[in-house]
């Protein structure tokens, strides 16, 4: 349906559905094919946290993965974030198979291509916001000056430039999560992974944060995968994937899965409004205020 060179928009579609339409021009940010993850707890106890999951995330996509506690969401996110390796199956980042990458190469991949946003924020307590944001840049040997400059830019992007010298304890929960988002953005990743990003926030702050993430996805073109047990949060994504007992429910994936993802480049050209997506999104105040151009 779209002929602008984008890969198949189907984040949820099975490998069979995507294989023939995938263009070489834009590799999927991450591509999981039939991955499993088993935790060996004892001699006879194996937890099958993931049992054969296939998922393709094209550049700029926004996918939510929703499921109850213990369904394997975090396990999947660890794999998508190159924090962990699958027990079986193929997992590729921009075409590179994790099986071929050393631990140091995975670390470097996380550093340059992936941004994490956690439920517990995970900020360094004694460290001012600006240095928290700059942390990923430390691991690529950037000079202090350059780190500060880019951290300030990222803080500006999340609207917290005026809080850059504050320590986490001096910030509200919502502000802390914004600092964490700035940290995830500072390395200009291709993929933003958020594990229950609103889980520790009240509903109003939560929807502000979701609005911010959506804007970043839409404007900066960074692919966004949000993991949540909250159906309302999940419904914000054009592609909504239920997960249960370590299996993605492809049948019940939302119709939005066949809709093209938002623009891939930043700043994006105004795209045609897509009613099928818009109709599935509950209104968000943050969105209303910001007017992302992709709708």
């Amino acid at each position: 349906m779209s002929h602008n060179g984008l890969p198949s928009p189907s984040a949820a579609a099975s490998a069979a559905a995507t294989a023939d339409t995938t263009s070489a021009q834009a590799e999927p940010v991450v591509d999981a094919q039939d991955v499993t993850r088993h935790y060996v707890l004892g001699k006879d106890t194996i937890v099958e946290a993931l049992r054969g999951v296939s998922l393709t995330v094209p550049p700029g996509a926004f996918v939510s993965i929703v499921g109850p506690s213990g369904s394997g969401k975090s396990t999947l996110l660890n794999l998508l974030g190159a924090l962990d390796r699958p027990t079986s199956g193929a997992l590729r980042f921009s075409g590179r198979d994790v099986a071929d990458l050393s631990d140091a190469e995975l670390a470097s991949l996380r550093n340059t291509d992936i941004g994490f946003v956690f439920q517990q924020f995970h900020l360094l307590g004694r460290t001012p916001a600006r240095d928290n944001v700059a942390l990923p840049l430390v691991y690529r040997g950037e000079s202090r000056r350059e780190r500060r400059r880019r951290a300030d830019e990222a803080l500006d992007l999340v609207g917290l430039a005026h809080r850059r010298d504050h320590r986490p304890a001096e910030l509200s929960g919502g502000e802390q999560q914004r600092v964490a988002i700035a940290r995830a953005l500072v390395s200009q990743p291709r993929l933003l992974l958020a594990d229950e990003p609103t889980g520790n926030l009240d509903s109003q702050t939560g929807s502000d944060i979701m609005g911010l993430l959506q804007d970043l996805n839409a404007q900066a073109g960074v692919a966004l995968v949000v993991i949540t047990h909250d159906p309302e949060v999940a419904a914000l994504a054009p592609v909504e994937l239920p997960i249960r007992d370590g299996v993605l429910d492809q049948e019940r994936a939302t119709a939005g899965s066949l809709v093209p993802p938002p623009a891939v480049t930043a700043p994006p050209p105004p795209a045609e409004p897509d009613d099928s997506v818009a109709s599935q999104r509950p209104p968000s105040q943050a969105e209303a205020a910001e007017e992302p151009p992709t709708r």
Binding site: L83, D84, D103, S108, R110, R126, G141, S187
Partner: protein, 398 residues
Amino acid sequence: MRAGESLRVAGGAILANRLRAGLTALGVVIGVMSVVLLISVGTGARAEITEQLEALGSNLVFAVPGGFEGGPTEGGGPTRSPFTAQAIDDLSNDLAGQAEVTGTLSSGEQARGPAGQVGISAFGTTGSYASVTDTDVTRGTFFSDTDSALGRRVAVLGPSAAEELFGQRDPLGQQITVAGVGFEVVGLVEEAGTTFGVDTDLQVLVPLRAAQELFGIQRVDTVLVRAPSPDALPGVVDEVEASLAQTIDEDRFSVLTQDDILGVVGDVLGTLTLVLVAIAGISLLVAGIGVSNIMLVSVSERTREIGLRKALGARTRDITSQFLIEALLLCGLGGLLGLGLGIAFAEAAAATTPLPAEVTWWAIALAFGTSLGVGIVFGVLPARRAGRLDPAVALRHE
């Protein structure tokens, strides 16, 4: 990750737990301080002994009782000395024209003079003592070999003995008593200083035979011979050995040069210092175990932080080096403080006690190097444990 950044992070972590870090580093502080202090005292003692021995005069040959190399065995001890006044006279004749000979015999005695009574070191010797040991007579004369041979009761005083016995009065020509026996003061000798707090200037020199009568013995402790030049030393040693062996069993005495004595004293002091430093080293070992322990606690407390850093792109070696640098910094700071205290105590000891102490660069380098070594050796285990943490598991911690 840059080294400067690692250092900054390590410093921050230490500052965040000041008390704990301080207590942990205390072991290193004490260990390094002890090493510096003990080596300084050992070095100082050796320097002092060297100086004292050289103050006796140069090119000296000593004949002492017993087998020296094997240490003071059954032949040792002044009362068992094989030397006699006759042996000294014979030796003197044998070496006439080649070298000067004297002998000494000493004992602690009470002396009394016009200004009071004092414990002195009564030193029996011959008239050639002053020239053999290069001692200057400041007033009067040294007694002669004839005085010595005749057993005349004359005395030469060290400066401290003169002051204790006579105060401001002039001692020359005056009488003193040593162990109740009267002596006439005929001369005064120059200052020689102190050795290990013993005032060698608190000395009363009397003719050898008079001293033998006074102490009621027939022996001489030590025979001293002065060679005319360093080149003549080996020849003189041989001559002395041959001459003494004519009347004395060879196993009952040893002939040594100053260098021989310095060597043996150095060996003994070196061994003693080594043993003491090894004990101090054990305290550093214990300190290292403490460092290891506290670093393991720190790794466990900061598991989530490690997981986060790894998620943000830290490699195993970034984390490992960060914790290794933290251990190094902890031990290095402890080491610096220990150095400061060790040097201060060594200086204080040298200034206020008879203990000589000499702080050397190699002692400082050894002590500080060891503290850094402790940091590396005992930091490796916790650092590797931190580096090996699985990021996904570490992030879930707690």
